[in-house]
């Protein structure tokens, strides 16, 4: 009887040497006549332990990590195939504190299963939500999603059920479901992990969305920077077609849903939903005016649901266990769980899925273990390049959309990037303007011109030129960007810029916050 060994095929694990580990393991097994079956699972999300190798034993799945190719021989010598002792032995993953304290709903299968095995997916509760949905009316499906309190996980936090309801109630021969997989925010990788580690859950979520609103065509707009996700998605989609989950007769129901992956081409702004649709239509990714809302006139002018990967991947469990089950997690108006990503200068970087309500401090220290460099954490940026920088005094803020809004910050896609005390916040503010200038689609003036002027202004401020004139000018410019931009790219670039200025005036050559406000 062969022994199952898991070496992640997640690109984060590959980036740390998982492919070499897998290769050496197979070579050694063959040479030594060991009967093993290698599964390339997703990542458990503990990247400081990657490549994390697991072996199925009588005592459960025993983990070893971080394993490099050079460790394989000694692991075999220590009889890791039967859970033997070794300096890299971690024990059962589910019993590690980092994992035990999480509530994994959307990520329930990630790291556990073979991502492209339909059997594995089915054995771990897969497609149960879809089977329920096939026996429900569109309106009933939408009601479950509305009851769950799910809000868009891409960053805007718009209630998913309300969006779906609009599309459901807009009559059209053709409607579309678009999955926004253009995960461009620095510090975020939960979409990537789902797509690489459990692609079927996204496919299931999109089929359910199609049934709910009456859409028969789905597109996953995937960023080109994610080739491993593309591979996993295409493999899973092909399997889903073969097994009758996709196509013109879903599980014999007579209902239809087609699904295709489309690649972006390195434009950050295409994560904005209207720009994304322009791109899907084969055009430059220029942001569209709203209204009309995409739910009424979206892709090719038809009613379109545009949802983030995590939003759609959260739908199957809602349809499986009911909207109430999901809603019982969380706090305030932030219901359910949020896959939080710990990134940047952090000791224990990775994915933490938990109900809303954890504080930044708990995440940074209890989960994250402090900075990777061992120096004090001076600032964190939450919510990607358009998110505010938060100083230590705000680390007790709970992760909740409204609590973040109150301190003029955003949760966004749940990415947290930590910086130690070597960071220069004026440089970060300059970078925020530069990023906006590089990525601006160019349609609206505040963003197109303002970002370049902002970059120049920040350069002047950094070189100490006339702060009395330039600081107010920067604030004025940010005000124009905030209020005059067409989309969140220009509209939110002031978040990192002004939060850096307000919380870290000393980096801008100012004595205190009063000077910064002047």
């Amino acid at each position: 009887m062969s022994i199952t060994v898991y070496v992640p095929g997640d690109s984060g694990a590959i980036a740390l040497g998982a492919n070499q580990v897998a290769k050496v393991l197979l070579q050694e097994a063959e040479q030594q006549g060991l009967d093993i079956q290698l599964v390339r699972n997703g990542s458990r999300g503990m990247y400081w332990l990657e490549p994390l190798l697991e072996v199925m034993t009588d005592a459960g799945r025993i983990a070893y990590g971080p394993v490099q190719a050079g460790d394989v021989k000694s692991l075999i010598a220590a009889d890791f195939l039967h859970g033997g002792a070794h300096p890299l032995k971690l024990g059962v993953i589910e019993e590690l504190d980092y994992f035990k304290r999480q509530q994994r709903l959307t990520f329930a299968r990630v790291g556990l299963t073979d991502p492209v095995s339909l059997d594995d997916y089915l054995q771990h509760d897969g497609f149960r939500g879809l089977k329920n949905a096939l026996n429900m009316s569109g309106a009933d499906i939408v009601k479950q999603v509305t009851d769950s309190g799910l809000r868009g996980r891409g960053g805007a936090a718009f209630p998913t059920g309300i969006k779906w309801n609009t599309v459901l109630n807009t009559a059209s021969e053709q409607k579309y479901i678009i999955c926004n997989a253009d995960e461009g925010d620095s510090g975020t990788f939960s979409d990537r992990m789902i797509m690489e580690g459990d692609p079927f859950v996204l496919i299931e979520g999109m089929i359910i969305a199609g049934l709910a609103v009456g859409a028969t065509q789905g597109y996953i707009y995937l960023r080109v920077e994610y080739p491993h996700a593309e591979q996993a998605l295409n493999a899973a989609i092909a399997t889903a077609y073969q097994a009758g989950y996709l196509g013109d007769n879903i599980l014999g129901s007579g209902k239809r849903f087609e699904l295709e992956v489309r690649l972006g081409a390195g434009a950050y702004v295409c994560g904005e939903e209207t720009s994304l649709m322009e791109s899907l239509e084969g055009k430059r990714g220029l942001v569209r005016f709203k209204p009309p809302l995409p739910a009424i006139s979206g892709l090719f002018g038809k009613p379109t649901v545009v949802n983030n990967v995590i939003s759609l991947a959260s739908v199957p469990i809602i349809l499986d266990k009911g909207g109430d089950y999901y809603r019982d997690f969380g706090m305030g108006r932030s219901r359910g769980t949020l896959p939080i990503q710990l990134a940047g200068n952090i000791k224990h970087g990775g994915l933490v899925e938990s109900a809303f309500g954890l504080t930044l401090r708990e995440l940074l220290y209890d989960f994250g273990g402090g900075s990777a460099s061992g120096r004090p954490i001076r600032a964190v940026q939450v919510g990607g390049p358009l998110g505010a920088f938060l100083p230590e005094s705000q680390f007790d803020t709970p992760l909740d959309y409204e609590a973040f809004a109150q301190i003029w910050a955003v949760l966004g896609h749940g990415g947290i990037v930590a910086f130690d005390d070597t960071v220069n916040m004026a440089e970060m503010a300059r970078y925020a303007m530069e990023f906006c200038a590089i990525e601006s689609c160019g349609k609206c003036t505040p963003c197109r011109i303002g970002s370049t002027r902002g970059m120049e202004l920040m350069s002047d401020i950094i070189s100490g030129q006339n702060p009395a004139k330039n600081i107010p000018l920067l604030r004025d410019l940010c005000n124009t960007l905030l209020n005059g931009s067409l989309c969140a790219l220009g509209g939110m670039t002031p978040y990192p810029v002004l939060s850096a200025l307000n919380h870290f005036p000393e980096d801008f050559g100012l004595d205190d916050q009063a000077d910064a406000a002047a």
Binding site: G12, G184, L280, R284
Partner: protein, 202 residues
């Protein structure tokens, strides 16, 4: 910034701008000569037959898809490494677009390139998470080691250096990608080892 310079990037001689404008409005095909450019280098330029084949294949297999332009451009770049200016009239004709529209799309997206890349392309992440882990120092080291800046190719045409804004490796920063392979926690030493490997394989 990159995008700001697009207009000047458009280095078609002025006398041809007129025919370009006509093309935009009336779809008059004035022949390929209008779009001929001086090659950057004799090395790496795609042979006409390979070019024709890649463009023809992409168009034949993909043109009937809704929103076919990006898939076609991806297919050509996958085959040739870039999207030659000479391919634009053919794509435009197949999709009933003006050449200006096709060029506009190629130049809008950072990933599409209109010059041949080096044998290997190195994408270095410039985003915040990597910056928090010494990404800027790594960037400086790489530029010095290769002797080139972003958007440039080494004189021996072996390595092109491009910036990228997030590879999704934020829990193992700093990160870079060489061709389709990703690498995390890249120290300057690890980078040197990677480049030595590349150079040895050339």
């Amino acid at each position: 910034m990159h995008k700001m310079s697009l207009l000047c990037d458009f280095y078609i001689p002025i006398k041809n701008m007129l025919s370009f404008a006509i093309d935009f409005r009336c779809q008059i095909d004035l022949g390929q000569s209008v779009f001929q450019r001086t090659p950057h280098s004799e090395i790496n330029m795609t042979e006409p037959r390979a070019l024709h084949e890649a463009v023809h294949n992409a168009i034949a297999t993909l043109k009937d898809q809704p929103g076919a332009l990006l898939p076609i451009l991806h297919s050509i770049q996958d085959a040739l490494g870039y999207i030659p200016a000479e391919s634009i009239p053919e794509i435009a004709k197949a999709l009933y677009l003006s050449r200006a529209e096709v060029h506009g799309v190629v130049s809008f997206y950072h990933y599409f390139r209109d010059t041949p890349p080096g044998k290997h392309t190195l994408h270095l992440c410039r985003a915040e998470s990597c910056q928090a882990m010494g990404g800027k120092q790594l960037e400086e080291h790489i530029k010095n080691r290769l002797g080139i800046d972003f958007h440039q190719t080494t004189p021996d045409q072996q390595i092109s250096l491009e910036p990228v804004y997030c590879l999704g490796m934020c829990a193992c920063s700093p990160a870079l990608q060489i061709d389709k392979e990703v690498y995390g926690r890249v120290s300057t030493e690890r980078f040197d080892a990677l480049v030595s490997e590349l150079e040895a394989s050339l």
